[in-house]
Symmetry: C2
Subunit: 358 residues, 2 copies
């Protein structure tokens, strides 16, 4: 078991070792560790060496000079200078929050960035300002549009964080696929099959083979198949792709560069890096903050009191599962898989930073 | 077969007959007929008598004085004065568009409204201004949160309309359920069963009984069940509910008043009427309009060229199916079910307006 603070310090030191400024390294570490604390293991410290490998291949700039390219009172476009999204997206959120302070809402489209960790970290930055936060990003293509076998879309998540009063905030953070790619990977490692409706084979047929992505298969948009609304998941994913990249000037669709360093990006490009889109609405730009929060409490309490279906214990509100994991992991620490520990030790060795065994 | 213009004129005349101003009646007719033209028959002229019955019960104000309650440069809250959403939502969109002209984006939360027809009509109003349009609304509770049997949410649609250049716009208009309620109603009338994953029985079990809503069952959020991501559909629907009603001061969750006049609203209320949320982003608040449009064309052409799955003809982009129906219905007219024709004749008689047989 590792404490969050231990891992956070290690992440920070690795980033400074590859040339990232102290402040940016602290920021990157905060975003990565927030994923481990919220139970999204695939997006946390386990990804650290992936960022370093991208930097080694000069596909990530460890010390980006982020620039505002264009702005209006409520919008901006920024160029992330090929930095880690872990650094670029919080920078963009600060601009969005500042604009929301001034004119009620703020929107920033980001190009020339890299993987930004969990979407929820960025949207949640708005909460302490009594604002509603919004974030989305496009990602390496793994998902096929409805009726297609072409992998043209990423898991393209959407996150919305809404403050409440006595109750914790409502935090939505969801891939626009029927399931996270991490779940396929886990089953594949265990040589187990998966439920139908998560992915399709190379002809577009249903499959339970968890290794199907390696055989020309594709992940499916939320809804799984046409009859259960996969065209809606396809719509949501398209929205994320267009806002993250067409609005900002990043790569979209099949042109999005892969996050993993061992896959080379295709030569053709239609923009710079990957793209994100973030924003904030000030609550009191609509309604008195106290009034809003007390109705949010009422909304949350009502939904918590919904009748559980037969065999279910209780009804959750968005953000509950992650909050429970955070509580548990802050108390008991974070368990890393042996492969992740080995990877981090190896990474530490490169930069003379010891990664402990405990 | 009826021409769209004939039906539109009839709708307009019915609205003026119940006291709606000429301009508002024209607006309401435009919204309703746009549903018939886009193939969303459940939200078109077939609903006209429903609005009138609500007015008869004094649950709809035929001549609303819509007021701005609060505003900032990029946001506003308006009170719809219990008018039809068909009139209130376009009014709100005009404000959003005006704000976007001034500061880059505009957002309007609406309370004290009624059913606003198809969400897509409102978002599409932004297109002619080279803006991206956004609209959502809450609706009568028919949908159970994941793990629950309580009908606490409506079909709560989201619409986003994005302009392109030579290509037609990308228009997303989707309920956040796995299927539209209209599909259940059609199967029920034909005494047919439905696929699993569309609704659940009163205990929360899967069912194929298309009449299950009358027996304590509930519709399911997009994703159908937990394993296929229904918690994500529940998240999206919650987002729509909170933005439409908690942000605006309308009724939310189980307190949303029913659209059908024969079901009385519950006595307890937490706000005024139902709520919507609309907005607009100016494209050139992010990127030169021409540049954006040419990349949208490229995006659309690329997705149209995706490889079809085995047995599928082609890959569609959001908005394609509705555009095809519009083209066909503008040419050949709109076919109404005998029950709808009878209903409209009856309605016409009340106000001395003849509804023809043809």
């Amino acid at each position: 078991m590792y404490s969050a603070s231990y891992l956070e310090k290690f992440i920070k030191e690795i980033f400074t070792s590859i040339g990232t400024s102290e402040n940016d390294a602290i920021q990157a570490a905060k975003v990565l560790i927030s994923a481990d604390l919220r139970g999204v293991d695939s997006h946390g410290v386990a990804r650290l060496s992936g960022y370093v490998r991208l930097w080694e291949k000069q596909r990530l700039n460890s010390n980006p000079k982020i620039k505002i390219i264009h702005e209006t009172p409520s919008t901006a476009v920024i160029d992330g200078d090929l930095g880690a999204g872990l650094i670029v997206a919080p920078f963009a959120m600060k601009i969005a929050i500042e604009k929301a302070k001034n004119v009620g809402s703020g929107w920033v489209a980001i190009r020339n960035s890299n993987h930004f960790g969990i979407a929820g970290y960025h949207s949640m930055l708005a909460l302490e300002h009594d604002m509603i936060g919004f974030s989305m990003t496009n990602a390496s293509p793994l998902v096929a549009p409805t009726f297609s076998t072409s992998k043209f879309l990423g898991t393209n998540p959407i996150s919305i964080a809404i403050p409440a009063g006595k109750q914790p905030p409502v935090v939505i953070d969801m891939a626009t696929t029927s399931v996270a790619n991490g779940k396929l990977e886990v089953l594949q490692r265990k040589n187990m099959s998966m439920p139908e409706g998560w992915a399709q084979d190379s002809d577009g047929n249903p499959t339970t083979d968890a290794a199907i992505l390696k055989k020309g298969g594709a992940m499916l948009p939320l809804g799984s198949d046409r009859i259960h609304g996969s065209h809606k998941g396809y719509c949501l994913s398209s929205w994320v792709d267009i806002f993250s990249a067409v609005l900002s000037g990043a790569n979209y669709g099949p042109w999005v560069p892969p996050f993993v360093a061992y896959i080379d990006p295709i030569k053709e490009s239609v923009g710079d890096g990957i793209g994100h889109f973030v924003g904030a609405w000030r609550v009191d730009a609509f309604r008195k903050t106290d009034e809003f929060k007390s109705h949010m409490d009422n909304w949350i309490e009502k939904f918590r009191s919904a009748t559980p279906a037969k065999g279910e214990e209780k009804v959750l509100i968005p953000g509950d599962p992650e909050r429970e994991i955070t509580k548990e992991r802050l108390k008991n620490g974070i368990n890393l898989l042996p492969a992740v520990v080995a990877d981090l030790k190896e990474l530490g060795k490169k930069y003379n930073i010891i990664f402990s065994d405990n």
